[in-house]
């Protein structure tokens, strides 16, 4: 064989090996969490809050954390959409391709890269200044801060893909910029906005670092914004940190619940945007 052919097959082999390693590591994560957690998974896990002695292996479940996570993620993701969509529209419809737009995008990129623990630390500092205790409200604030740049950039990319001729047609009919943005561009981009929403929702549910510093932890289901709340990632983390093997096993079972939610969101986003894409103008 010629040296070039040897090199060719060597690198092709390495590439296939690498791809297999990446896919394999995903499967390994699923498999080992499932293997460790399945024996402890039960209906009570998702229908009950922790009873007395839960953390030494007695009865109960993590309904508190499931509900807490949903409250937190719904609140933060809705807020980020409310802030992110207008800013993204501003970038594409008003700034266009100008230098201003690229400065804004650069700042948003930096904000996207800021680790969630830094947002947590920031909100924690604000809480100290306000003499506030950890609560669902501050958790939502922290998660919104780190989610909103992601949401804005994701929607921004979707809006860029809306065909320019649609905007021009609408302007030709005498519409204002605001009308074009809200009635044409946003509707056209709806499938993409839905995927951005679900993507960010998944991030919000999975975040632990920002929440660790701001939301507290409780065995009860929160009833108001000023209550502390438990979240699934924190439930996983704290249960694994206990010395009891039974409780540690429940950490893996809680991990399965978290994974199922995240995977469902990911599939829903794929399916939903495909389904909705049928109705838009290309």
């Amino acid at each position: 064989m010629k040296p070039s052919a040897v090199e060719e097959s060597l690198f092709r082999g390495l590439m296939i090996l690498s791809t297999a390693l990446v896919v394999g590591s995903l499967l390994a994560v699923f498999a080992s969490v499932a293997f460790k957690g399945l024996p402890a998974l039960s209906v009570e896990m998702i229908t009950q809050t922790p009873k007395g002695g839960y953390y030494i292996g007695k009865e109960g479940g993590i309904l508190n954390a499931i509900v807490g996570s949903l409250y937190l993620a719904i609140g933060a993701t809705a807020l980020s959409l409310l802030l992110g969509l207008p800013v993204a529209l501003f970038l594409t419809e008003v700034c266009g391709d100008t230098r201003t737009a690229s400065y804004y995008r650069r700042v948003l990129d930096v904000l996207c890269g800021v680790p969630s623990i830094v947002y947590g630390a920031f909100v924690f500092t604000i809480m100290i200044v306000l003499r506030a205790r950890a609560s669902l409200l501050y958790g939502i604030v922290a998660v919104t801060l780190f989610e909103f740049p992601l949401m804005t950039r994701a929607i921004d990319e979707v809006l860029k893909k809306v065909p320019q001729r649609l905007r021009e047609t609408t302007y030709a009919l005498g519409a204002t910029r605001w009308e074009v943005a809200t009635r044409v561009v946003t509707r056209q981009a709806l499938p993409g906005i839905l995927s951005a929403f679900l993507l960010c929702f998944g991030r919000a549910i999975g975040d632990a670092a920002a929440v660790l510093l701001t939301v507290g932890y409780t065995d009860n289901i929160p009833t108001s914004l000023s209550d502390q709340a438990a979240t699934l990632p924190l439930a996983v983390f704290f249960q694994l940190a206990t010395p009891m093997p039974e409780v540690q096993q429940r950490a893996y079972a809680s991990g399965i619940i978290l994974l199922v939610i995240v995977i469902t969101l990911s599939l829903a986003s794929r399916w939903g945007s495909k389904k909705l894409t049928r109705y838009i103008n290309r």
């Binding site: 070039s4 990446v22 947590g120 510093l213 990911s266």
Partner: protein, 295 residues
């Protein structure tokens, strides 16, 4: 209000919102900096950064152990992640059939969406014992398994999807015609990749690596769970380390109990923020800068 009035008012309000994102970044940096002032004014900066004496009770705050821990864990992750991710990206963009691509890409997206705490428990269940009972004995070393290597492995997998998706996009953007030219000169596929595609895409590929690096520096929970959290400058990859994000996450509860301790933790957050901001701007500016030079 007439239609033009609605238009003007709406955009004016939104402009304020857009400006406030910029303000948010400055505000975060400003708050963290103002909180760091007490420690910056009482301990010289060189001591803060290069001393490894960490005794908050005695008022000695040297961040060397934490900075070294962060760098070693991140480097370890990059050493594993960069070659694997780049080879995968090249495979997906240059070699794989449509069917394989369509099967693998969603899995990589899925990997990107897995919460860090899941990687953490996977690390505790699988990587830590593997390092303790299989890898370390091969080198004749005793370790708990909670060490730089374990954290690096877990972190590498978290960084895969970032490098792969950015690098793949960059590679696919290389014009078809360049490849055709190379093939017509008799180059093999790999020769085309090596001499034409990678050369053309080199800056973008570098940007993808920097983005992966930024993500790795700030990752908290997964690393915290497997790295051991011992405040020392790790001598080997089998030693425990204590990266900056773990320092904040583990100690925020007690930070009000000691003088200067809260300031020290906020300084840690500030260092992270500045590092990440610098690298992100670099990764986003580099490709455009170079493109302009080439023109």
């Amino acid at each position: 209000m007439d239609r033009a009035g609605v238009d003007r008012t709406a955009w004016a309000v939104i402009r304020v919102l857009a400006v406030s994102c910029v303000a948010l970044l400055l505000l975060i940096a400003g708050v963290l900096f103002s909180k760091s002032i007490p420690i910056l004014s009482s301990v010289p900066l060189t001591n803060l950064l290069f001393s490894s004496k960490w005794f908050p009770l005695r008022g000695e705050f040297g961040f060397m152990a934490f900075i070294a821990g962060t760098l070693m864990v991140t480097l370890m992750a990059m050493i594993i992640s960069v070659p694997v991710s780049l080879l995968t990206a090249i495979y997906l963009s240059e070699y794989a059939s449509m069917r394989v691509r369509n099967a693998v890409k969603p899995l990589i997206d899925l990997l990107a969406g897995i919460p860090s705490v899941i990687f953490g428990i996977w690390g505790v269940a699988f990587v830590v014992p593997a390092v303790r009972y299989r890898v370390a004995p091969m080198f004749g070393i005793n370790t708990t398994g909670y060490c730089v290597l374990s954290a690096g492995i877990v972190l590498a997998i978290m960084v895969f999807p970032i490098i792969i998706s950015v690098a793949e996009e960059v590679l696919r953007a290389v014009p078809r015609s360049l490849r055709e030219t190379a093939y017509s000169l008799g180059a093999t596929r790999w020769q085309t990749v090596k001499h034409v595609v990678l050369k053309e895409a080199s800056v973008g590929v570098l940007a993808s690596i920097i983005l992966g690096f930024t993500r790795a520096i700030g990752e908290t929970m997964a690393v915290l769970m497997v790295v051991g959290n011992v405040a020392q400058v790790p001598g080997t990859v089998f030693d425990a380390a204590y990266p900056l994000p773990s320092l904040i996450a583990n100690n925020y509860g007690e930070m009000m109990s000691l003088p200067l301790y809260d300031s020290a933790l906020m300084f840690a957050a500030l260092v992270l923020l500045l590092a990440v901001a610098g690298f992100t701007v670099l990764a986003r500016t580099l490709p455009r800068r170079v493109a302009r030079l080439q023109q």
